[in-house]
Symmetry: C2
Subunit: 405 residues, 2 copies
């Protein structure tokens, strides 16, 4: 049976750790499995590379950024193949363009379109462990692309789906998915099983365990994802289809994102098409808009407020000052950084009322001002000042009694 | 007119230097040229990468080494393209597999078989500077290959040949080709013009200015090579077809290689086919044998002595102990390291006698023992103890009066 294993940057952060991963891959192979291993860049490497690029250009061309950033994983696959050889095994490294992992051409945030299984399968048939570079792909013109931060998770689950693997093991430096960040909440508990839907909300809300696209792939193709530690053999958290008893838990987890920014366009004309005028150019620039709130004021004017990643503020200002020049002078665009989005997530919310009210009451008790609110079927999010994020997460974790098994 | 410019590791060793190179490329473009720039890894980077690999395996698999090592150039092309953008120009980076620079599959020492000019030409036609990763290629199966140390020079001259460029400028941290290493000989002089043949001998003998294969390409396709400094605008040394007046100079330069090792197979049977038995497996292992001396002893026995790079000694012992097990016990294979090959080179030797004699006299005066001697039409080399290398070079430079214009 085929197992796909993915090791993150911390798990391959040193030569010794790469050796340890090689041994783990070989142990899995000796238990009778075909093994495909997907690796990230050594921890710190991607930041080092992007740092070099930023020294040269404040807004570097994303095609070239991908050429640079993809080298991190390229080094790791080579080293991992060497480490498997050194442990007496057989392995071959495969880069995105060698597999080939075909993506669209959205540099720095490309989406996988197709994975050719042939090179991997022929490596496996030769008794080799296939070591595949995560995070990277290639577009139809042969340009190197990357999948965005955490993209190696998506590479892994997509490869597992393409190969119809039994499971996709995501090895990381934590023991699994927790009810909250254990660094913030001491009583946080590891969750044994969680639904794709809940994981999707947690992933998109900042629990750094899994990239959101990887969960989408898992859900779409029914790949069981096992999030576990590369430093021990403990069972981690299984991300699986929703099961009946999951509903008994109202809130599965509390999470907080960092580096949120709020953009406000005050007093713009309240006319049809105004939203498209604002958001279309942002989308074209690849800026992901999250929470959107629009409030009518008076005289056919409205305030439009939305959140984006802090890192995109300079580009958003640039885009908006052009696209909205007829409705708002550039210096009227207001941006506020240092915000955090704190959320509670759980499939049980669908059948339990009053979760939002309880959340607001907890914030009120702690005197935390809420900038924006956003809800879905299984999630409630509040954008607050970042300085209150830890306090908010701890209070919600206590208030919803997530520390109790 | 088309100019190919190649910048070595020191010339692109920092972000500031990459910016300076970008400005130089753009200045060349503004003078009305199409510009193709070929870059090496930032200085120190290739060693860092190979060091990581060596930590994992003493004799790492060369396919995987090439995957790892080729990332050095990949980072530089991305940064260089960004720097050209930042200076207001247009550029696109191209990797070996994107160009495509087709090589054989001799990993770590691949030879270029063909260069597809189309991707480069279409970049140039769009007004862009094409920034090409040196040192790397791709074999017919899509495996990444590298061309060996200094391979970026060969990439540059081969691209210049494929594009029928007007000239190939090799930018380096020295002002050109010198009559001897200026760090060793204070009176060493820069040479204005030198023939391909002389450069070939100098390159193969350890003058680190140009990789030997690049000079072969230049000679074969008639590409004028201009070796010059990236830190100033001085004319450097032109490497060109032999000209009439070059013969008036008997010796063009003195050079010394480092890290030579001598292998002796004492008392092996003096029978036909014995040389093939020794050298065929070494060649198959990719070990380059340089000087070979065979001396008959007695009773149908002979001593076979030859030099190889020091780095290849462990592998050579491994290969020879297998291939020669029927003629010599493994522990009889003698190796001696810490040797140097010192040579004088000049096309003028063809028409001047007594150069070898003068060389031996100079060595005798200095009390330097000669291990091995090798000669060609335009070169005389002596293998000596490495500790005398600088003394030998200085004495020869003085003796042949190379310091005089």
């Amino acid at each position: 049976m085929l197992i796909v294993q993915k090791y993150g940057g911390t798990s391959v952060g040193t030569v010794e750790r790469i050796r340890a991963v090689a041994r783990r891959c070989l142990a899995t192979q000796r238990r009778g499995h075909d093994v495909v291993v997907i690796v990230s860049a050594m921890s710190g490497e991607t930041n080092r590379l992007l740092g070099l690029a930023k020294q040269i250009a404040a807004l570097p061309d994303e095609r070239e950024l991908d050429v640079i950033a993809s080298t991190g994983e390229q080094v790791t696959v080579g080293l991992m193949a060497l480490a498997i050889h050194a442990e007496g095994g057989q392995a071959v490294s495969l880069l995105g363009h060698q597999v080939r992992i075909l993506t669209d051409s959205a540099f720095a945030r490309a989406r996988i379109q197709d994975i050719d299984a042939r090179a991997i399968t022929s490596a496996l048939q030769a008794g080799k462990i296939a070591v595949i570079a995560g995070f990277q792909g290639v577009d139809k013109d042969g340009n190197i692309t990357t999948l965005g931060r955490g993209g190696s998770d998506t590479s892994a689950v997509a490869v597992a789906a393409a190969l119809k693997a039994e499971a996709c093991e995501i090895y990381t430096d934590v023991d699994g998915v927790y009810t909250a960040d254990p660094n913030v909440v001491r009583s946080a508990r590891k969750v044994d099983r969680i639904s794709y839907e809940e994981m999707l909300e947690l992933a998109s809300l900042g629990a750094k365990v899994l990239q959101i696209r990887s969960v989408e792939f898992g859900m779409k193709y029914g790949v069981p994802i096992h999030v576990r530690s590369s430093f021990n053999d403990n069972e981690g958290t299984w991300v699986v289809p929703e099961e009946k008893d999951m509903e008994s838990v109202v809130v599965a987890g509390v999470t907080a994102t960092r580096d949120e920014a709020k953009v406000t366009l005050p007093g713009i004309p309240d006319k049809p098409g105004i939203q498209a005028q604002v958001f279309k150019p942002l989308a074209a620039a690849g800026i992901v808009v999250d929470v959107i709130v629009q409030a009518h004021i008076q005289n056919g004017r409205t305030n439009l407020t939305f959140t984006i990643p802090s890192a995109d503020v300079p580009r958003a200002r640039e885009v908006l000052s052009k696209s909205c020049s007829d409705i708002l002078p550039a210096d009227q665009i207001k941006t506020e950084e240092n915000l955090s989005k704190v959320s509670v997530v759980g499939v049980g919310m669908r059948s339990h009322a009053g979760v939002a009210l309880k959340m607001f009451e907890i914030f009120a008790q702690e005197g935390i001002h809420i900038h924006l609110i956003s809800t879905s079927e299984i999630k409630i999010s509040c954008v607050i000042d970042a300085k209150y994020a830890e306090l908010a997460v701890r209070s919600l974790h206590d208030g919803f009694e997530l520390g109790k098994a």
